[in-house]
């Protein structure tokens, strides 16, 4: 087991290396340099030259690349010039918000998708099944930003059930019950949107899994032993069909990361996706490179997680 995990980790290294090269060169092409925020009309060009000499911007690019990657490995991504803060610290703060949003979304997503998938599979071809299929089709087809905007308009502005931006009301101090309630209240609408958009894959997978299981030998055996149909579903089929769903977790996380850019921007939720868009707008390239690398790493981690869960759940696919 550990061998596989270690091997997968080693396989990640070349991919991260190529991604880092790509990001490095893109950053080189971006307009501006790390001193853009420091320059004032009084700055002496000679002093600027000295600064870039000192920061190593005049070195050949392999030297610069090695230094950049060395710093990145130690968690040093430089200073964000729009926020005038350490990039790692800034991202760390935003990452926590994104983490809570993703965690709640995943929980909600599974609580919606699993019952729907089971019902659709169990009552295959019924009216209920057709309704669930229609629901999963619509949520699959609708673009993230359209659904988010419609929800924001309807639930945020028209019905005023949820706040329309931010992650917490500023009037509450940290630690009180109101503070946490307000946090939850802010996070709820983006979470629901997220969860609804992500259910399709799990519903359809679970549904076809259960339909297939109905014809399996073990189900026939259980039935002929005289176990009531209800129990066959809850005990036998459910367990067997649910296991592969666990493996979806990694892909779900990957999907959520991509969606976070839209969702956080629309709901004004201060997470990493929103930070990315605002950094692009202000050409804050130390933040951009750090975020792209982090997202790349997390995406790889997500697919790794899926593979690991899959090999725990299903011993047949363990790669040697």
């Amino acid at each position: 087991m550990w061998k596989i995990i270690v091997r997968r980790f080693i396989l990640m290294i070349p991919q991260l290396f190529v991604l880092s090269l790509l990001v490095f060169f893109l950053a080189k092409f971006m307009p501006g340099d790390p001193f853009t925020g420091l320059i004032t009309p009084q700055t002496d060009p000679a002093r600027l030259e000295e600064l870039s000499e000192k920061a190593g911007l005049n070195d050949p690019w392999p030297v610069q690349y090695v230094r950049w990657i060395g710093n990145a490995l130690q968690g040093e991504f430089g200073i964000s010039y729009t926020f005038k803060r350490d990039v790692a610290e800034l991202i760390g703060e935003r990452a926590l918000n994104t983490f809570w949003l993703s965690l709640l979304s995943v929980i909600l997503l599974y609580t919606i998708a699993i019952p729907l998938g089971i019902l659709a599979g169990r009552y295959h071809n019924s009216r209920l099944d057709k309704t669930i299929i229609l629901y999963s089709f619509i949520t699959y087809a609708i673009p993230t930003f359209v659904l988010s905007l419609l929800f924001l308009y309807l639930f945020g502005y028209k019905l005023e059930w949820f706040p329309t931006s931010g992650s917490v009301d500023i009037e509450y101090s940290s630690g009180t019950i109101q503070y946490y309630w307000s946090k939850l209240h802010h996070i709820l609408l983006p979470t629901i949107t997220y969860a609804i958009l992500g259910t399709t894959g799990i519903i359809q997978f679970l549904r076809s899994e259960i339909i297939d299981a109905k014809a399996m030998d073990y189900v026939r055996t259980a039935r002929s032993k005289g176990i009531p149909i209800k129990k066959v579903y809850t005990k036998h089929i459910f367990r067997n069909s649910l296991l592969p769903i666990a493996a979806f977790l990694g892909f779900t996380i990957t999907g959520l990361l991509g969606g976070s850019i839209f969702i956080e921007t629309i709901f004004g939720y201060p997470g990493m996706g929103q930070l990315f868009i605002s950094s692009i707008a202000s050409r804050d390239y130390s933040v951009i490179t750090a975020l792209v690398m982090l997202y790349g790493f997390l995406t790889l981690l997500g697919s790794l997680l899926s593979d690991i869960i899959m090999s725990i759940v299903d011993p047949r696919i363990r790669i040697e």
Binding site: V18, A141, I142, I280, T299
Partner: protein, 299 residues
Amino acid sequence: MVAKRKRKKYKNSPPTGLQVIFREFLKDRVAFFSFVSLVVVIIGVFLWSYLFIDQEALMRINLQDRYSEPGEKFLFGADQGGKDILGQIIVGAKNSIFIAISITIITGVFGVIVGLICGYFGGWIDNLFMRLIDFFITIPSLMLIIVFVTVVPKYTVASFIFIMSMFLWTGTARLVRSKTLTESRRDYVLASKTLGTNDFVIMFKGILPNLSSIIIVELTLNFAGNVGIETGLSYLGFGLPMSTPSLGTLVSYANNPLVLQQYWWVWLPASLFILFMMLAINYVGQALRRSADAKQRLG
């Protein structure tokens, strides 16, 4: 006519190709309706925007009509620059559809060629492309597309299509590769090889027609996906250049809370139009997928 007479002669011969698709659409009324309305909308949008809309006049700012309500001067009202919403939707839809089709064709052709070559020959070339595709799948492509869009100097519609295509060819390539892999072990391919047929002739005249139904399904679903990505990026402000009207740009006016709340006619019609396009294309895609797979057919 010939086909009809043949079918009468051999009553039990199974329906093939287009007949299967036609029967599937007849059976599924929603898919049929989606298909017809899509064709009508696409042709209508192109004709209307080329024949009746003067883009320069459309994009001219006229502050007198700022946020004029629907029906006041324009059928769908006007935006903050006093520009006709309906006209912008038509031209925006034309641009979005055109771009989505271009990306679908470029990625489709590239993906099919790469997939066929990799699946047929295998070996080092397959290995090389598979590693490349693995890499593309694991990178945060949406972010990189945005970064590319901001880095490229003299940004145009063509460069946008190019950047998007660069990241979106991998899905088709993977699918075609795996299908080619199984197809190239079939007897007809082996027989053709023994007869000394040129490899490329086998690939494009022998294998490709057998994959056509899968490729058509893939391209249709890709088309829907591309409409979604293009409008999404334009919504974020990293899609079409600002001077080109786009559905995404129209929706992005809703980022202003005032517009979102009070001037719903600015963003809602464009959002609903995108929604309609996505649902219709995907529905047609699903029906095509069913007709490509004999087990799932309704008709």
